[in-house]
Amino acid sequence: MIDVINLRKAYGSTEVLKGITTTIRQGEKIAIIGPSGSGKSTFLRCLNRMEEPTSGSILFEGRDITDRKADIDEHRRQMGMVFQHFNLFNNKTVLENIMLAPVYLGLRDLRRLKRRNRLVRLRNLFHGEKLPLHPIETSKARIREEARENALRLLKRIGLEDKANAYPSTLSGGQKQRIAIVRALAMNPKVMLFDEPTSALDPEMVGEVLDLIRQLADEGMTMVIVTHEMGFAREVATRVLFMDGGNILEDDTPERIFTNPRHPRTREFLSKVL
């Protein structure tokens, strides 16, 4: 599903990713672990081009997304991203946070379709043989209503439907992060990227967020999680990548990484964090 080939990223003269090659298959749950500064976030953020790779390529379903001509916004729609600090839109209510992108994109697609139909009509004026119009089966109101229903359904799923009209500043960290997750889900992404989703949370809220991520994993969502929660990585991941100094040093099943790591750096790291 995602092929990363010799991915490099440098800030000025410091190389942060030193040629990463790996493949992420549909349905895999990949945990990325490793010491601070090893390039975990940078790698994750290259996958949806929040960081511009210096060289190498990333193929998503066969298409190279590092290509300058690739429609990056279209690509990001298929990859949900969840941040350490939630990043809910502060000027929007919970419901608006979830609805914003789907409504905007729905309306934009509708506008494009209408514009194309206008061109077809114009063309048909001057040609004997008529081209058919693109069928339009939706309307602005429908798009909004559907996005709203979907958002409320997602909120219900996480038990926060009563917060629909609340502003993010009134919510707890755990609530914010669960809403950030369903906000990403509202785009129906094919992959979810998580960058330390529980690191900014008070300990008592970590559980509720991990539970939600676990549910998504059980439903078959493909995901890549940068995490310091080793227990969670071991339980949920189908594969664990250990990164150090801009390289993937070890890539294996959680059992083997956690019980019998091959690389001395992995052993050293795990002995510190476990």
């Binding site: 990001r76 839109f89 992108a101 905007y104 609340a166 502003y167 500043s169 785009m187």
Partner: protein, 236 residues
């Protein structure tokens, strides 16, 4: 102080009986119009400049646009507004063969001038918004422009309302130079009243009072706006 009573009487006479109040009302209207329309233009253009300046500089176009904006801001902040007015009215527009009324020239020049100041205010406002907000928008597949318009700028504006209010008040005060190009503002009105009998003490005193009230009202409006914005922060 008997003298002062007489001055007051004379002022009243010109103010009411010779139609001075009409001129004052027109002047007041022009002053407020130049400040309000100037600020509106300033916010529009200033926001554009601010966005150009905070945009990631990826190619030659964005870099040269930024250079242009830096030049613009430097130009308008580096010269007195009177000079800008005079140059616009007596040099630039005639050279271009354009003939428009002084009042409109004032609105445009004050708008362009205020854009330079607003752009700096807006830029710091945008920079004060958590970069995570832009990241979240982009990660959802919204483009830069939409994320800027729907997420970042609304939060920036909320942060800078007090500073924008100060800019508005400065504008009101600075409009007192528009008579240099013949626009009829409060000064022109009271100068007319005073010239009527060479008695300037009371007219200019009243003019000062009107400016004080004007600025106080503006400050009140800004404070009210701030309060209602803050309230929306606490909404549940």
């Amino acid at each position: 102080m008997g003298n002062f009573d007489k001055k007051l009487e004379r002022f009243w006479e010109v103010f009411i009986e010779h139609g001075g109040y009409v001129k004052v009302l027109t002047g007041l209207q022009n002053t407020v119009w130049i400040a309000v329309a100037g600020l509106a233009i300033g916010i529009l253009i200033g926001t554009l400049i601010a966005v150009v300046r905070v945009m990631p500089k990826t190619n030659r176009l964005t870099k040269s646009l930024e250079g242009l904006c830096v030049f613009y801001v430097g130009l308008f902040r580096g010269t007195p507004i009177v000079v800008q007015l005079l140059v616009a009215y007596y040099v630039a527009l005639p050279l271009m063969g354009i003939n428009i009324p002084a009042l409109q020239v004032c609105v445009i020049v004050f708008g362009l001038n205020s854009a330079a100041y607003v752009s700096e205010i807006m830029r710091s406002g945008i920079l004060s918004v958590d970069p995570g907000q832009m990241e979240a928008g982009r990660a959802l597949g919204l483009n830069y422009r939409v994320t800027m318009m729907k997420i970042v700028i609304p939060q920036a504006v909320k942060n800078i309302v007090p500073t924008l209010g100060n800019e508005f008040i400065s504008l009101i005060k600075e409009t007192s130079v528009v008579s240099f190009v013949g626009a009829a503002d409060l000064y022109v009105a009271f100068n007319y009243i005073g010239s009527n009998n060479y008695e300037f003490m009371v007219p200019y005193l009243v003019m000062a009072l009107i400016y004080i009230v004007l600025v106080a009202v503006a400050a009140l409006i800004v404070r009210q706006l701030e309060r209602s914005l803050r309230k929306s922060d606490r909404r549940h």
